[in-house]
């Protein structure tokens, strides 16, 4: 381990924990009603949608089919594992075909 890599990893550790702790620190000081409260409730879905959307759109037919398969499997089973498995299986199958 070089000095640079120790510094880089130590820096990653510090900023990442500071972000997690900072969110908790903020949570104690945010109001529980009104716009901010309504806003925080919407954060989870919006963050996850933002996380996945560019990858799905930039992907090809395999990724689009797989995203639809994941959605359909979730509607049918209401549980995580079959939905994930359906998505991965469809990506694999479509890539074999194309």
């Amino acid at each position: 381990m070089t000095l640079e890599s120790v510094l880089a990893i130590a820096g990653m550790i510090a900023v990442t924990y500071a972000i997690r702790a900072g969110g908790l620190f903020l949570a104690d000081r945010l109001p529980e009603t009104g716009f901010v409260a309504a806003w925080l409730k919407q954060v989870p879905g919006a963050v996850l949608a933002a996380l996945v959307a560019p990858g799905v759109v930039a992907g090809g037919v395999a990724e689009w089919c797989a995203a639809v398969a994941t959605a359909l499997a979730f509607i049918a089973t209401r549980s995580l594992l079959p939905s994930m498995a359906a998505g991965i299986a469809v990506v694999w199958v479509v890539r074999q075909l194309t």
Binding site: E4, A8, M12, G45, A49, T70, L80, M84, G87, I88
Partner: protein, 243 residues
């Protein structure tokens, strides 16, 4: 996960429940942890560096991004720390939504538990809160510790196996990440009102990902999408109030 709890649950039961319900997600963490370990080896990270990063940073997305920048002979230390900050900034919003779990929890315990917040442990916990169920901090801790353990074993295994897995995309493993977050997202579905934040967040993220290099799109989509959702929410409330 589908059986609602009506009676109060003790911490031990909540911990166990978190461990069990996160297992499907932990399996996907193992898959892309393995992938990350393999890539880390190709990029010249030593086993000790892999273990230090996985155990103490414990944030998969940022660890993937950093691999892009990693050059052992000329390490861009500042760029690595800055990218980590940008990619992980979404966890500020995530941790801020955990307040209901922290009621009556001692401060030191709360600040230790928040280390275990990841996309998966947090997403599962938010999903479990659906339908007004009260979720204990122990649930998040059980889920988080499980994710942490799987991440350590998988990244170290990947680093040690190295060259055995030549092309992960051939097996569809690169889609594991997307499939996981899609499934988590669908698990949060409460009704048609969710279309506003989801589609706005997705749309903004797609545009920003095209225009701005790096991972700012997660934060941009998350902030604009949630603001749009909140605005729509308050507008509906107001309309109901005056009608």
């Amino acid at each position: 996960m589908n059986t609602p709890i009506l009676t109060p649950v003790g911490p031990a039961a909540a911990l166990r429940r978190g461990i069990i319900e996160v297992l499907p997600l932990a399996a996907s963490i193992a898959a892309y942890g393995l992938l990350w370990g393999v890539l880390a080896g190709q990029k010249g990270l030593s086993l000790i560096e892999v273990m230090a990063m996985s155990s103490l940073v414990f944030a998969g997305a940022s660890q993937f991004v950093v691999l892009d920048l990693w050059r052992p002979d000329d390490l861009p230390v500042v760029a690595i720390i800055l990218s980590t900050f940008v990619v992980n900034l979404r966890m500020l919003l995530m941790a801020a939504t955990l307040k209901p779990l922290m009621v009556g929890v001692p401060k030191p315990l709360a600040y230790a538990a928040v280390f275990l917040v990841t996309d998966e442990s947090w997403g599962l916990t938010m999903g479990a809160q659906n339908g007004g169920r009260r979720v204990r901090l122990a649930y998040l801790v059980g889920a988080g510790l499980t994710c942490w353990s799987f991440w350590q074993v998988a990244t170290v295994t990947g680093r040690l196996l190295g060259a055995l897995i030549d092309d992960p995309a051939r097996y569809g493993l690169d889609f594991v990440f997307t499939a996981t977050f899609l499934a988590l997202l669908f698990g949060m579905w409460k009704g048609k009102a969710d279309f506003v934040p989801w589609l706005t967040g997705a749309g903004v993220a797609i545009v920003v990902a095209r225009l701005v290099p790096g991972n700012f799109y997660i934060l941009a989509g998350g902030i604009v999408g949630s603001l749009a959702g909140a605005a729509a929410d308050l507008w509906r409330q107001k309309r109901r109030g005056t009608a």
